[in-house]
């Protein structure tokens, strides 16, 4: 029964997502814009390929940092209405009355959201990587480490969204709640990409992020279900 509810909610949310293209495509466009145009904020001569004594950082390592932060901000933007829509139209209540525990509903929604927003993000990375002239190896690693880290980002931001679901000014609070929690995934994700840039093996940080993802995906939804139940009280 729980698996059936999971699939039902997943299909329903995907159907709704494809009817409301704007709700999830804006964060992606934002990600491309922020990441690709970030170097505009720096004067060209400060952007040498390899940092000399005057350049603080190389173009490539700048790119990695910007892309990671862009990915985090994009997931922040896309997730704050994840539960709010279902609470405002009352469908979350009906789902809670369903046969399966609320947990499988939460997994369904998270999976749908991940497929619709996090996955395209990973696919767009090579496009953005070009503007930082990342080596193919680094771009591939960037995409892989993002793929591993996005479940952590999605779950943690979803926890923030569930905690602040009926509050005014929720988006700002979510950012504040989530940034400290997300820092490990960010640290190891960016580290893996930098290692790949220097053509070294990035297995260590990737394994760590993979274990973070497993912990987040298994424990996070329990906190989300509890927060949603508290919100509906």
């Amino acid at each position: 029964m729980p698996l059936q509810t999971f699939l039902l909610v997943l299909r329903r949310d995907l159907k709704v997502a494809f009817r409301r293209i704007s709700e999830w495509s804006h964060p992606l466009l934002f990600f491309i814009a922020v990441s690709a145009l970030f170097p505009l904020a720096l004067s060209p001569e400060r952007l040498a390929m390899t940092p000399g004594e005057s350049e603080l950082f190389g173009l490539q390592s700048l790119g990695i940092g910007v892309i990671w932060m862009g990915a985090l901000l994009a997931s922040l933007m896309g997730l704050d209405r994840l539960f709010l829509n279902d609470i405002e139209d009352g469908s979350l209540e009906q789902l809670m009355l369903g046969p399966a525990p609320l947990l499988s509903v939460v997994y369904g929604k998270l999976a749908a959201h991940w497929l619709v927003s996090a996955l395209p993000l990973v696919i767009l990375v090579p496009l953005v990587g070009l503007s930082y002239r990342l080596t193919p190896g680094a771009t591939a690693m960037l995409a892989l480490s993002l793929l591993i880290a996005t479940p952590v980002l999605t779950v943690l931001v979803a926890i923030g969204a569930a905690l602040t679901v009926n509050l005014r000014g929720a988006t700002a609070i979510i950012g504040l709640l989530v940034l400290p929690l997300v820092s490990p995934a960010l640290i190891f994700g960016a580290r893996a990409t930098v290692l790949a840039l220097d053509a070294e093996s990035a297995a260590g940080p990737l394994y760590f992020n993979a274990s973070l993802a497993i912990v987040a995906v298994s424990l996070g939804p329990v906190a989300i279900a509890a927060a949603l139940r508290a919100a509906l009280e």
Binding site: I173, L179, I187
Partner: protein, 250 residues
């Protein structure tokens, strides 16, 4: 899950209010006294450090404030978890009481750590020191908790939802701590002096421990006082509270 009977006695607000009220004066007085003695001892009597000179004397306050911040956050997470699972208002009052103390002490640890870094590494913000980075992240966790609570107008819902955040936070703190340390170990050039306690000879160690004891006593004194405030806030309308208030007024 049936809770032992004595646990419920802890649960009765008037009893806890009285007990906390009795402890607060002792805790605060001993705490302040210990801090005064420790500070004087550390500043005036303890010898100068061979390597860092006089600035090492910040060691008598920085680790203590950081330790109190960490302890407050852990206590907050545990109390919030208990309050959420067994719906005990008192446990929520403990968590809510610990938060502002922890936040201010963590802020203190951050500032004193940065000040200590200035003469040691020539910069207020030394990325090489994992502990300052961790203090900052812990401060954001506290600010996030306080911001979330402030956004609610119904106190019971604020208790339950912020309890979830506190539990999620306390589960993540070790992971954050490890990640920051690991990240800094990459950055660490061999020569950078660690902020660890330089091999402390007894004359330095005694005031250090006195300060730790003083801060701990002070923390529990503050926490019990705030616990009382939390109990009064959550027990409005209860008969024992009305008698207490009328008794005090007459």
């Amino acid at each position: 899950m049936k809770l032992p009977v004595w646990f419920h006695r802890f649960g009765s607000p008037p009893w806890v209010y009285g007990f906390a009220g009795a402890c607060v004066p002792w805790l605060l007085i001993c705490g302040v006294l210990a801090i005064a003695i420790g500070a004087y001892w550390g500043l005036a009597i303890a010898p100068t450090d061979a390597v860092q000179g006089e600035v090492y004397r910040i060691i008598y306050i920085h680790p203590q404030t950081a330790y109190i911040g960490m302890m407050a956050y852990t206590l907050m997470g545990i109390a919030a978890g208990i309050g959420f699972i067994w719906r005990i208002k008192l446990a929520h009052a403990v968590a809510v009481g610990a938060a502002p103390i922890g936040a201010t002490f963590t802020f203190g640890a951050l500032i004193t750590g940065a000040i200590w870094g200035r003469p040691t590494w020539g910069t207020y913000w030394e990325w090489g020191d994992p502990r300052i980075m961790f203090e900052l992240l812990l401060l954001f966790l506290f600010l996030g908790y306080l911001a979330l609570r402030a956004a609610f107008d119904d106190r019971d819902k604020a208790d339950r939802v912020s309890a979830i955040l506190a539990v999620v936070g306390v589960v993540n703190v070790p992971i954050i701590h490890f990640s920051v340390d690991w990240w800094n170990s990459l950055h660490q050039t061999a020569t950078v002096m660690q902020l660890d306690d330089p091999a402390m000879d007894p004359e330095m160690l005694v005031p250090f421990l006195i300060m730790v004891g003083g801060f701990t006593l002070l923390f529990y004194g503050l926490l019990f006082r705030r616990l009382q405030a939390g109990i009064v806030e959550r027990e409005s309308g209860a008969r024992w509270l009305r008698e207490l208030v009328e008794g005090a007024a007459s």
